[in-house]
């Protein structure tokens, strides 16, 4: 095996492992989110009710976790597809950084939308 190929592809466990961890997180938090939104509060679609639910600290935790997990899971998934087409060397770093910037940006955008409810 070419040594440069070895060096180029070190690591890989964390993205793989985190993809599984976030999958579980998305599954659990999405289930709670949907249950809380559509089953427990069905038929009562008032502003106060929704605001109250979003302000609840437990729900906030669930929503932030879901947001972080889903953003990571989605972008990491796209990145893995991208990597299958062999992005070598510096190009690959650029992609990694770009995905991190997009990810962090999307997370903060989501957080910005959720924040007013929590702070009241």
């Amino acid at each position: 095996m070419r040594p440069e190929a070895m060096a180029r592809h070190q690591g890989g466990m964390w993205p793989w492992l985190m993809q599984r961890v976030t999958a579980v997180l998305v599954f659990v938090t999405m289930a709670i989110h949907l249950t809380a939104t559509h089953l427990l509060n069905i038929g009562d679609l008032s502003y106060d009710n929704i605001a109250g639910r979003l302000a609840h600290s437990g729900m906030a935790l669930v929503d932030f976790t879901l947001l972080a997990a889903v953003v990571f899971h989605a972008l990491n998934g796209v990145r893995m597809v991208w990597l299958d087409y062999s992005l070598a060397g510096s190009g690959r770093r650029v992609v990694d950084v770009a995905f991190w910037i997009i990810g962090v940006g999307v997370f903060f955008y989501g957080a910005w939308a959720l924040w007013p409810w929590i702070t009241g």
Binding site: A5, G11, M13, D84
Partner: protein, 239 residues
């Protein structure tokens, strides 16, 4: 006398002619394997046809080809069991070609060599055998049957897109040793498969298990390696 019609993919890099198919009709009595058919063609119609062969009993792994749209060993494929009027015989797809049905296996074996495909021992061997219970031995049953024919490697989409990916056969071999109770590689072999051109490039497509003419399951072995790698890196467990 029944006849078998073969469409054989031909390619000679030095001829300047592109890949094409030649048709040959081979008479036979009783049964005929594709390998026997190829020999008949080579002996009677076209001396320049080339293909790999050795044991003709499905144990050496020489004659893996793409026959009638499936990965098969030519020696194990009886024309009576193949459907359709014409039997299409092609080399293993997605592999560099030497000529006709012979593909270049050098990269395949280079990758096999990379994962240190041998039993690693650090402690002193006893005078007699290293004890191994039937239960421990049972874990080796699947991976030790690999004949290195290359069908899985040729069938793997991750190999197609990433030239550096080790591929199912090499990783199955790594699994064969990692799962062996006698192997004492603690960190020697780990870095060679626990990386992005190793186990994490496998997306559990399972083409390899579908393609394997020995009906082995490389995907299962690769999944085991992923779990073992995480256990070892995160929890420091050595085996």
């Amino acid at each position: 006398m029944p006849e078998a019609r073969f469409h054989i993919k031909r390619f000679d890099p030095k001829s300047g002619v592109g890949a094409h198919y030649d048709e040959f009709t081979v008479p036979y009595e009783g049964s005929l394997t594709v390998l026997e058919g190829l020999f008949y063609v080579q002996e009677h119609f076209d001396g320049s046809l080339c293909f790999r062969y050795c044991c003709r009993a499905a144990v050496c792994g020489s004659c893996a080809m793409y026959i009638d749209g499936r990965y098969r060993l030519a020696c194990q494929s009886n024309v009576n069991h193949l459907k359709g009027d014409v039997i299409v015989v092609e080399p293993l797809p997605h592999m560099p070609l030497v000529k006709d049905l012979v593909c270049d296996m050098s990269e395949f074996f280079a990758k096999y060599e990379t994962i240190k495909p041998w039993l690693i021992r650090t402690s002193q061997n006893p005078e007699k055998e290293l004890p191994q219970t039937p239960k421990e031995r049972l874990k080796l049953d699947m991976p030790v049957d690999c004949i290195l024919c290359g069908a899985c490697y040729s069938s793997c989409p991750s190999v197609w897109t990433e030239g550096d990916y080790l591929g199912p056969a090499a990783l199955l071999k790594a699994y064969r040793f990692e799962v062996d109770s006698r192997d004492e590689a603690r960190r020697e072999r780990l870095p060679y498969f626990d990386n992005e051109r190793g186990v994490y490039r496998c997306h559990t497509i399972a083409n390899c298990s579908e393609a394997c003419p020995k009906e082995l399951n490389p995907t299962e072995g690769i999944q085991w390696l992923k779990r073992a790698a995480v256990r070892r890196r995160l929890f420091g467990r050595l085996k």
